[in-house]
Symmetry: C2
DNA sequence: ATAAACTTTCAAATTATTTTGAAAGTTAGA
DNA sequence: TCTAACTTTCAAAATAATTTGAAAGTTTAT
């Protein structure tokens, strides 16, 4: 297999994985492309390589920037914007964990907290089951939340810091 | 807030969370409904409660069974099938991790292994970057895979076993 | 063997998500 | 200021995912 073929396989696979995990396929593909590009790319180049429209490229890049996975670069004497992806997988994982925590975990914990407070007849099986399930999920979610928080400040923490070295 | 309202909020929230993580909204909702139901439910009851069609209910229940989250039950002297969800959050988490590992992580590792083998000009920046990114992701994926494997047999392992007790 | 009770299938309809592309907006330099 | 280079927006179009519902299939009891 040659590089160009390998590259498109990688982009395709990353796009598929993303879409299976609720991340827009194109966003994952643009990210994949930038991850294997030594140089920052222009919108034009990305449109060209992935055969996507200008609007799509623009929106996707903005999203990637808001996820903290891509940054804009400017080259001296050029008007064009260049886009560059951090290639440190650990940073990427941390960044994704951080964003998903903020966007999805935190909101559901808020709801679960509310639902934990619902009062009812302690003899009623329906109420008992509801209560137990909601409370258990809430506990699990809070534990995941705490674990992520610890993870995200790994550098400051000897314990997780040493666990993470195992993953590098 | 009363139980019926709380129940629908829970079902709605679980459905939303599912869809954000690539799990069909209806599937997550049916799962949520069964999680708060002390008794096993029939297809009819599920259709009724969630206002979904028979076909949808049937397919969704089959999916949930294939995910290992729901099981069929039969009541003596009845033709109807009843559906019941495991309510132990830790089992649910394990089960989901197990399935997603099999369905999504394993396939991507297979692709990454192939792409790791691609040969090329070691002076070429494009090749070097491709190689490094693919290899790094591959390593991370393999570590996640190993960690999940260990997690999934937690009971047999003193280290993770004791970590997990913190989550129970 | 037949009928009633129940489950499964899947093509077509619906709904949700993503993508396009042309127009509007912005910026930098002459 | 004006214009060319570049970026952003967003309504409409295209695509993808989900859902429906009626027909076909299956099972059980008589």
């Amino acid at each position: 297999m040659q590089l160009p073929e390998a590259k498109s396989k990688f982009i395709e696979a990353w796009g598929k994985l993303g879409s299976e995990w609720g991340i827009n396929r194109t966003m994952a593909q643009v990210h994949a492309l930038l991850m294997v590009s030594p140089e920052a790319l222009t919108t034009e180049e990305i449109m060209e390589e992935l055969k996507i429209s200008r609007g799509n490229a623009n929106m996707t890049l903005r999203d990637l920037i808001s996820w903290g996975l891509v940054e804009k670069q400017h080259k001296a004497g050029e008007r064009k914007e260049y886009f560059f992806a951090d290639k440190d997988t650990w940073n990427i994982a941390r960044q994704v964990a951080k964003e998903r925590r903020k966007r999805e975990l935190d909101p559901i914990i808020k709801i679960l907290d509310e639902l934990s407070k619902v009062e009812g007849d302690k003899k009623d099986e329906a109420f008992k089951t509801f209560n137990k399930s909601v409370n258990d999920i809430n506990k699990l979610a809070k534990n995941v939340d705490k674990t992520l928080e610890t993870m995200l400040k790994a550098e400051e923490n000897w314990f997780w810091g040493s666990i993470f070295k195992m993953f590098k």
